[in-house]
Structures are given as C-alpha cells and as structure tokens.
Symmetry: C2
Subunit: 375 residues, 2 copies
C-alpha cells in the first residue's frame, strides 16, 4: 500500500468522502480539480489546480500517479486512453467511461446488450424534433455534460420544442413509472462483483419531488432480485472496475427499465457510510486496489436526506437547527466542506437509522425540516 500513488480526477464531495475512506488504506493521494477551493484541497498529499476536461492537464496529472480513478465522469477520456496505453492502471477503464459519458452511446449499449431501457431516438439538433412528434411526451437529454437534472427537458407537445437543446441529444419516451430505484454494484480488478441492496426514492405526498432515499427498498422481493440481476449484468457488460450506480424505473406494469448509470460513488449510496459495515467508498477502493470486496449487508434500515441550500440565500453557510436535528437518536450529519451556500446547492446529507422501516420513516419525517442552510 505504501507505494500506491492514487490520483483522483475531481475534488468535490465524492472525492472528499473517498479520501476520508482512503485514510484506512494509507494511500498517497493526488487530486485534480479546476476549483482552487474544492472540498478535497486539504485532504490529499498533492492538490493540483487544473481542468480535468483538458487533455494535457489530465495527461500530465496521470503521469504522476500509478493508479487513477474519478469522482466525476466528465473528464478528458482521450488523455486516459493514452495513459492506459502507456501502462497506467485506470479504473473505471477509459472504454467504460467513454460509453457512459455520452447518453447516446449509453442507450445504444443498453439496446445492444438487451438491457431493458425506455425507447429512445438520437437527434443531432433540435430542428429534427418535428419528425418525432409521434414520440411525445418525451425527455430531451443532452448527450454530454448533464448532471443532477441539468441537461434534461420535458417535451409534452410541439409547443415545447422551443425548450429543447441546440446540441446532440437523446429523445427518450416518457415512462409511466411507479418509482425510481437504484442499485450500486462493485466489481474488483479480479472480476468479483457485489451489489448493495436496492435503494428507493420516496416522493413527497403533495408536491411531486423526491423526499428522501430509503434503504433497503420495500418493493416486492421478486423486483429486488430482478433489479440486482440487471445491475450486476450492466456492471459486468460495461467491464466496470470500481463502482457502478444503476438508476432504474419500476413501471406500473412491473417492469424494470435502466434509466442511467454512473461509474463512481453515488448520492444513492451515502447512507452506506453509517448503515453498512462496508461503505460504498471503502468498496470502491477495495475494487480498484484489487482487494476482496467487503460485505454489502446493511446493519439496519436507513434514510438519506440531502441537505440543500435554502432558496433565497447565497453566501457563507449557516446551519440553523443543527442541535435539534442531532438530538434525535440515530441521526448523523455529513457536511461537504463547502464554505458558501446558494439555492439548492448540495451542502451535505443526513443519515437516519432505526431498527425498522416504520421507525426510520417516522424519524425522518420528524427531522426533515429542522435544519435550514441559510447565509
């Protein structure tokens, strides 16, 4: 372990939690990020201030490492192919990344490998939409660069075409789904695969927004088995080394469709730091270090509540109600090292633990509005 120089492309909160877990393994770490105030900047041996989308920057950074990974998928993959050719161990592999970076290639990959997914069409530009009126309602998604709902527009009728992107995109048929679920899989260098239990998004009763994530999901056992089987199949087929978060829809007629995948630690796995013996971050490191994967069984049910910057506030973050929040037994906070808040910025999360699903839900309801992040 003493000889490993682990480079991470990206220095945001996912990198930060990866470094936090990485302390257990005595790794020498290097981080590349364009933000000089990135959450990782004080937590690695070498912080390199630079753009992970730039060929030369990524190449030069890679030459200083003997193992390279990512915490964001939008990185310069050409530089990674070159580094891999020169012998550098890069996980996830550049070929897997290339497919995932482009939502069009991702969809074609699913189709080619009989991975169930919503019907789609590829468009070069918005002008082509007129020829696809039969496909509405649908989502128009940017092929590259989207994240956290950015890069997605809903088109119900031709009247919405003005909202579409003027760039290569995927037109995806609207799925009448009952709920969204996610399975995080890990696959190590040797090819061993392990999946975490299914996590489900619980929606708010009134406004149609995600309220929190529940682990393990309460969907029928048969659907859980199916979801884990599909996620494992996608992980192996994509030749992933490291983690793959597989987001899926459960349709009203009991089908499971893959929505999209991310080859890295994922928001839907943050509860594993508290609710599982092996966190997703430890698991990612075990996978890319070629160590046996850890146990993925949870200790108890958990709910993950994202902490977003309050609407209407920008500036140095103030955490109002922290004490009342942490007074509830089984509630833990995890902040992301961001000095400044802005409306809806992901500032941290709460993990809520309880012995039963009923109790964890009741507790999450009582806790969820106590903490406000203002400025």
């Amino acid at each position: 372990m003493n000889n490993i120089r682990l480079g991470i492309l990206g220095g945001g909160q996912l990198g930060r939690m990866l470094l936090q877990a990485g302390l257990d393994f005595n790794l020498y770490t290097l981080v590349l990020d364009p933000d000089e105030f990135a959450p990782c900047r004080h937590l690695c041996e070498e912080f390199v201030h630079g753009d992970f989308k730039d060929y030369d920057t990524v190449y030069a950074f890679g030459k200083r490492c003997n193992l390279l990974t990512i915490e964001i998928e939008h990185v310069n993959v050409d530089a990674l192919f070159q580094l891999e050719k020169e012998g550098l161990a890069i996980y996830p592999k550049p070929a897997s990344l290339q497919t995932i970076q482009d939502k069009g290639l991702q969809k074609e990959f699913f189709q080619k490998h009989a991975i169930p997914t919503a019907p789609f069409r590829l468009l070069q530009e918005a002008a082509e939409l007129d020829a696809h009126q039969d496909f509405l309602p649908a989502f128009h998604k940017l092929r590259r660069g989207g994240y956290d709902g950015n890069g997605v527009r809903r088109l119900d009728s031709p009247a919405d075409f003005g909202k579409a992107f003027q760039a290569p995109g995927v037109l995806e048929k609207l799925v009448d789904f009952e709920l969204e679920i996610s399975v995080i899989c890990a696959r190590n260098v040797q090819g061993e695969v392990k999946a975490y239990p299914v996590v489900e998004q619980v929606m708010h009763d009134e406004h149609n927004l995600v309220d929190y994530l529940l682990a393990p999901s309460q969907i029928a056992y048969k659907l859980q088995r199916m979801a884990i089987e599909i996620a494992t199949h996608v992980t192996t087929t994509l030749d992933i080394v490291g983690l793959l978060a597989v987001e899926m829809f459960v349709t009203r007629d009991g089908q499971i469709l893959v929505n999209e995948v991310a080859p890295r630690p994922h928001n839907s796995g943050h509860h594993t730091m508290k609710a599982n013996a092996t966190s997703q971050f430890e698991q990612h490191l075990r996978a890319i270090l070629g160590l046996p994967l850890g146990d993925t069984e949870p200790h108890c049910p958990a709910i993950l509540l994202n902490l977003l910057g309050e609407a209407g506030y920008s500036g140095e973050a103030v955490y109002e109600g922290l004490e009342e929040t942490l007074r509830e037994p089984g509630v833990h906070i995890h902040l992301y090292g961001k000095k400044f808040t802005r409306p809806f910025r992901k500032m941290g999360h709460l993990t809520v633990l309880a012995p039963t699903v009923e109790e964890v839900k009741t507790k999450a309801e009582s806790v969820k509005n106590r903490l406000r992040i203002i400025a």
Copy 2:
C-alpha cells in the same frame, strides 16, 4: 460550524482518526506535533511543526484557534491554563488534564471521591522503596509521561528494586484480577453523559498477552452495570468535556477497580468506527462542539485486533497477507498513515464484525495471524 477553528494537540493516529470523523462537521482544523512526518500532516488546514510540551509553542498555537482539544494527554498544561483564562474553550479542561497527567494525582483523586482503585503509595524516588517491602508484589509506575506500558515496572521482591524508576512514582499493589475491561464515556459541554458498552480484553490461552478486545464484554450483566456506573461517575467527577476512557480490573472476588483513565479517544474504542452508528471520534466532536451526543448502541459484536510491527523488522512497511485477511467477510482494516515500521509499533488495527459473539471470536481466530507487517 463554518467559524470553528479546531486545534488538536498531537498529530498521531488518534488525531488522524479524529480529523477523519471531523470531515463530517466542516471544521477548520490545526494540528501541532513535533514530528514533521506525523500521520495528521496532510489532513488539516494548518499543520504546525512544534513541541506540545513547550509553553510558548502551545500558547502561540492556542491563540490561532477558537476551540482546542488533545489526542495525547502529555501536553503543556500551564499554557492551557493561561489560554483558558484568556477565554479559549479547551476540552478536556486544563484542570481535568492536570489531574490525569500525573498518576499520583489521579490515584489521590480516585481515593478522595470514593472511586474504587487498587491500594497505592506515592514515592519521590526509588530509595524509598525499602520502607514499603510490606506492599509487594506491586507495580512501580512513573507519575508522569508513561504510555502503552512504558513507565510501568513490576516489583515482586526487594531483588527487583534495581528496576524501579529514579523519578517520582506510584507504587500500586498488585491486583489479583480476572480480566481487564474498559468503558468509554462522553460528556458534552452541556453536561449530558453517554457511555459505550463495556469492552473486555481477551487473553491468549497460552502466553499471557492480550489477544484482542471484545465488544460488548461477556461479563455478568450486574458487573457491566457496575462498570458503566463507575465510569460515568469518574467522568462527571473529573468534570470531563469530551471522552474519558476508563480502564478497570474485574477482581476474582467480583469487585471492579479503576486502573487508569485517558481523557481522549482510546484504543479500546476503535471498533466503534465500524460496529456503532456513532464512532468515539464523532462522539468526541459532538461533545466538545456542544452538540447532543450520539447513540452508543452497537450494531453487532466486534473484535479489535491491533496490528503491530513484526519483531525483527524495521523500515518501510510492507503489509503481507492483506488480501487473505480482507477476504473474510466482516473484516475491515484501518492503517495509521505510518510509512515506517519497527518491532511492536502500532501500525493499524483490524475490526472484525459478526452477528454473534461466538462467530466473531471464531472469525478473529482465523484472521489474526494472516497479516504481517514487515519491512
């Protein structure tokens, strides 16, 4: 939280694990340590290379913080008294530290507050031993500066007096104990106290050395209740803010005697990082930040195996057998960021988890000799 500047006196493995947990709270951290290669050096915003036993160094360091804590108790307490007088929040408080730093004062404190402890006598120098032959067999302990068994000599008869320390010491009557246990308590700024379950040292069947730590202990429920009551009493009486590790003997006639205490995270609590929702490090931070204390219930039984440098090897550490070790489900490694090993140096620990005490013991036995730290 954004305004806290937390200083830590000491930058060893305990400080490292404290910083690791501290990431969850977005703290600005400063560390003082005399070793420029200290395990904490890359994990804080400011690493100050200097001696925590020196008045001026500690004073100047304290002036840069608005909250000060320790990871080692042998620090300059006079500087802390001055800083406290000038308004700095220091936890544990200098007065508690002063009592604990000196094993003579510690024993007198136990006696004064009716805390059960082995009979003792205070000696200025070894020459006084002749007058205490009636007190043998006994341990001769240095009043100040001992750690990890350093600063302790066993004296069975006057023939052993040559081994005694030429410095102020405590002569402590040998206790015929059945086993050693430990309870870690936390007390926050507001005075709330919580104890972790009792941990017991399990000895090797043949050679009389500690084999591992088992949590929770399997001693009679009545003894557990007694141990927790005593530890809580010591914590409150010493006016601790933060953690107090209370090491105790269970004697063959069913008494519990306090051996010694440490006002900081402790080796006997490391398993809480994996086996409990609230680790001792998170708990220490909650306590000194004035936040409600976290739940101390364990998820499952755990065993802690210390990883020591193999006898006969010094130099850059090599971890032999890591893969076989981590292949066992429920086994997690935690290394301390030390580049160099030497015989018996504490290099890290393994935490072993299982659903029952029987299983965790079997697993620990099968795992304990797989990993060797050589050079």
